[in-house]
Amino acid sequence: MLAAVNERPVAANLFKTAPELRLIAARNRKTGQLVFPSPGESESFDAVELPARGVLWSYTVQRFAPKSPPYRSDTPFTPFAVGYVELPGALIVEARLVDVPFDQLRVGLPVELTTFILRSDETGEILMFAFRPQTAALS
């Protein structure tokens, strides 16, 4: 998945879109512990790419419009799904869930990393990471 020129991640050092979409975590050199989001490369941490596929660990649907700030959106609010995704051997990561009907959400659903357009500004579209069901995971 290649990002178009007018798209950019919502934050630096959060995820990379090329050559493949991956979340960027950090491993503590002393303890071996993984940290996401990454506190940035330094003497204490090494950058680590997280697996792009995992299973849904838990989920909910955000039914009411969150207060702004901190929430930012340029489209009228519609309910969205949120979950924690267990990435095998790595971490359980919180993210928006996209391309999934709410009644298909279940613990254990196989999901994969994707992005969606969080909002736009004068320089282009701002991308946020999310997870969606793996192909053929929906019934």
């Binding site: 838990s58 909910t60 955000q62 901190p70």
Partner: protein, 381 residues
């Protein structure tokens, strides 16, 4: 080291009181507690107090009297009241003081909390993407728990039904009308699986407790309610807490488990010895999970407990006898102390229509707050 007694209690009704600031509600509670103990502010040797959003507790000396006492402010999220009590308990137990106040109050705007990511050490995108919402955390911790241990939505509704039944009999409660199980299940979905009636709301109120050493309590002739344990614990590695962009795949216990064990050990009692309990019920599911985290039942047994009514006023272990946060709302700084206030009422046998019918000799309370702090308190008489 001395034992610590609760010799006076005071509360400002929870809910919405447009005409009083949070600080005024705090002062109201302190005056009520002093009147209950038949004492005067000038006799207080210290105060620990706090609010999350309604001002600085120590400025209350302007309203209560410039006696030069040390007034220590505490701020620990939803566990603020527990932390204030811990301060007062420790001050007396050390032998340094004989008589003082633990108090808390708050007054929140309507609707869900709107935290600033920077205040929590989190990046701006976490808030922008709509992930920084406390109710999502409660819903997701619960969904995982329900899936793992077989808890039904009906059980969640039964918790809320009990809360509103009990709240109807508590003069300090906010929501004072019973709500039927079907209405709870069919009310507006907020964060699946939790509906509107299964969530508490931020509210207003104040609570104060007068604490005394054993010597002072005897002198006052008020040795009925003894504070056997106050334990405050922050989160261990691997616990699942609010505002976590990622958690470890190696799961650990909740801070409540740690605080609860410490409190029981300190008290020399176990969960089976407790006659009545007030447990943090930010939502129906929180009460369910906290029943197990505090050691009162095994994971999954809540389904049978609620079906059989074991946590109702006439059950084997009445829980949240004043309707808890669901019926009282949650003024953050006062909430943990309200639980202790209610336990003192139950130990005194002064609950009126909400009094637990059998003799109450021991009472437990548990408060939990962001970013992962729990306080557990054991009272005996």
């Amino acid at each position: 080291m001395t034992d610590v007694y609760i010799v006076g209690i005071g509360i400002h009704p929870f809910g919405r009181t447009e005409q009083r600031t949070g600080l005024e509600q705090g002062a109201f509670a302190v005056r009520a507690a002093l009147a209950d103990a038949d004492l005067d502010w000038t006799q207080m040797q210290f105060a620990f107090g706090g609010s999350d959003a309604a001002g600085k507790a120590d400025t209350l000396v302007a309203q209560l009297g410039l006696t030069t006492l040390p007034f220590i402010n505490v701020l620990n999220g939803c566990a603020t009241g527990g932390a204030a009590l811990f301060g007062g308990y420790s001050a007396i137990k050390s032998g340094e003081f004989d008589l003082g106040v633990a108090m808390g109050f708050d007054k929140h705007p309507r609707g869900a909390f709107d935290p600033n990511p920077v205040d929590w050490g989190l990046p701006a995108w976490y808030g922008e993407a709509g992930l920084m919402i406390t109710t999502q955390f409660f819903a997701m911790k619960l969904r995982r728990y329900m899936d793992t241990f077989g808890i039904s939505a009906l059980t969640l509704a039964r918790v809320a039904e009990k809360a509103f039944q009990n709240g109807a009999h508590a003069p300090h409660a906010w929501r004072r009308s019973p709500v039927a199980v079907d209405s709870i299940l069919n009310s507006q979905m907020v964060n699946d699986p939790l509906t509107k009636y299964m969530f508490c709301s931020p509210s207003e109120g104040g609570v104060a407790l007068i604490l005394a050493s054993e010597r002072k309590a005897r002198e006052l002739g008020r040795t009925q309610v003894r504070l056997r344990a106050v334990a405050v614990r922050s989160r261990p590695p691997g616990s699942f807490e609010v505002f976590a962009p990622a958690i470890s795949i190696e799961r650990g216990p909740a801070p409540t488990v740690i605080a609860s064990r410490a409190a029981f050990e300190m008290a020399g009692l176990g969960p089976k010895d407790i006659d009545v309990a007030q447990l943090q019920d930010t939502d129906s599911g929180a009460e369910i999970m906290h029943m197990a985290e505090n050691g009162f039942c095994a994971d999954g047994e809540q389904e049978a407990w609620l079906a059989e009514g074991r946590t109702r006023l006439d059950g084997a272990l009445p829980i949240n006898t004043d309707g808890g946060c669901l019926a009282c709302g949650e003024p953050i700084g006062a909430s943990g102390l309200r639980q202790v206030y209610e336990n003192v009422i139950q130990l005194r046998g002064a609950g009126g229509p909400r009094q637990v019918p059998r003799r109450v000799r021991s009472a437990y309370s548990h408060v939990y707050g962001a970013p992962g702090v729990s306080a557990a308190v054991v009272l005996v008489c």
